[in-house]
Symmetry: C2
Subunit: 161 residues, 2 copies
Amino acid sequence: MSTIHAEPLTAEAFAPFGDVLDIAGAPDKVINAGWCDRYHDRATLDFGPGGRAGISLFRARPRDLPYECDMLERHPEGSQAFIPMAPMRWLVIVAPDADGRPGAPRAFLPVEGQAVNFHRGTWHGVLTPLAEPGLFAVIDRIGDTPNLQECFLDEPFVVIS
Amino acid sequence: MSTIHAEPLTAEAFAPFGDVLDIAGAPDKVINAGWCDRYHDRATLDFGPGGRAGISLFRARPRDLPYECDMLERHPEGSQAFIPMAPMRWLVIVAPDADGRPGAPRAFLPVEGQAVNFHRGTWHGVLTPLAEPGLFAVIDRIGDTPNLQECFLDEPFVVIS
């Protein structure tokens, strides 16, 4: 079984797959009489022609490293943002598309204060906290048409830190 | 100067102003082979005819209780969700509309794991963390038309716990 190392989550490394949401760099605007920095409109949201934005909460049970991954999924009709509501360790797994199946996977370890937004149609692993409480706000597509493709891998892989 | 007590944040008490986002009660769906509970589509999002959803990050400096409030604002063109990215204490201030100005204000103290979504046009106080890190994801309207009305109060009020 192949093994991949989890990389630090940076906007540059993650760009082919989605957006990193964090407060690196200068704010776009200072509001509230100087009390608040606004990092404005940082995610490429796309809910397709028949969808709309929704906010859901996910509570996932923590996993451990090494983490064996045997399935990636994608949402052909919409982007999906995972926003941690506590500063826990968690894992982000993505892959480029290769003729309708996931290509070579990559894994990222966000630090405190980082969230991600997967671009529409991006192969990714399920929400994978590595610690409690596993609580995330999820901004994704609400709609009536199918929006989940799962791909079980011929060869699972293992993520290590 | 008048004084108001901050109340516990419950869905029922907050209903006239917006949605409480938390994992109270049963999940709407269990996903990821049983590893994750989904509390589905919990916010009434409304970005008006000329807007779209955006995800921004706000970093606000903490305030203290008692907190003196002399201004409330509203966004006539869109809802606004405040999602804490850390389990800090924070304050939510809202007021009903009274002929185009804020009526009697109310204040709420969320507990860990609670977020709020202000309905479109609801009078509310600015983002008010009571502790570090003051980091929130904000889901609100992105658009080119004016979407902020501020109302400076003739008589400020004080919020105590």
